[in-house]
């Protein structure tokens, strides 16, 4: 148990060291950091998803609005 804990701790320290080394290497090479790079790449996706969501919201909203008006008129005719 104690041995496996030591291994896990060593692995964690090693992982952090590798990530830190990669970040330092990226910075010194003039490359953007991983977080910033992901943000840059994902930004157009957000715009695409927002545009496709707007289509559903506006067309769906129009359909719901028509259905509500139809129901109101039908109730008025029944009265």
């Amino acid at each position: 148990m104690k041995k496996s804990m030591t291994y896990a701790l060593a692995l964690t320290v090693l992982t952090i060291a590798v990530m830190a080394a990669a970040a330092v290497a990226q910075e010194s090479a003039g490359m953007p950091q991983a977080g910033r790079l992901a943000e840059q790449n994902l930004r157009p996706y957000w715009h695409v998803f927002a545009a496709y969501t707007l289509v559903i919201l506006l067309i769906g909203g129009w359909a719901v609005s028509i259905a509500r008006r139809l129901r109101a008129i039908e109730e008025r005719l029944l009265d």
Partner: protein, 229 residues
Amino acid sequence: MSTAGMRRGGTTLTLLGLLGLIALYWMAFFWVPTEVNQGVVQRIFYIHVPAAWTSFLAIGFAALASGMYLWLRDERLDRAALCAVEGGLIFATLVLTTGPLWGKIAWGTYWTWEPRLTLTLLLWFIFIGYFMVRNATEDPEKGKRFAAVVAIVGAIDIPFIHLSVVWFRSLHPEPVVARPDGPTLPGDMLVTLLFGVLVFTVLFFGLFLFRYAVEGLRAEADLRARSAA
């Protein structure tokens, strides 16, 4: 066509349109390849252009119905124009919201006062103006006539929107389909775009029929109320 028939037709077309919309989303996200220069943001094109086409179709249809209403004074034509303008406003709003989302990535700005964008915004204001003019008069008949003129003026804006990128120095991309020398899009992109145009058109006519049925029933309810009074 009877009100029940319109509702049936509207239901069928709307369901077909919704199924088509699911297929369009699948094509736009998983089937069509990513454009080399613009990247993933170019996929907005497959909804932006069909929305623009549908808003043009709506105002063209409304102008035709309005012109015939001014000539024949048939209430059904006025109702058809009203329903088409309402749909046109929805699709024009889509054009003016999806376009800037693309523009922010492609141009670095959501909005610029270049000819096509400005004329499209003018069309949106014409759609809004139609409802304002219609409800601004005390005499409803006069409001309908004024609104019919607004719809006809709106249709005159369409060729200017289409040709503005050719006539003026413009940031907006030039047409890639409706060109004298034929479409310049690769096959799979063209298929996705044309499918989008078909889906938006079917959705527009499906919901238009529903909306027209509402107006038909409203006229019937008003007639009953008047005869009861």
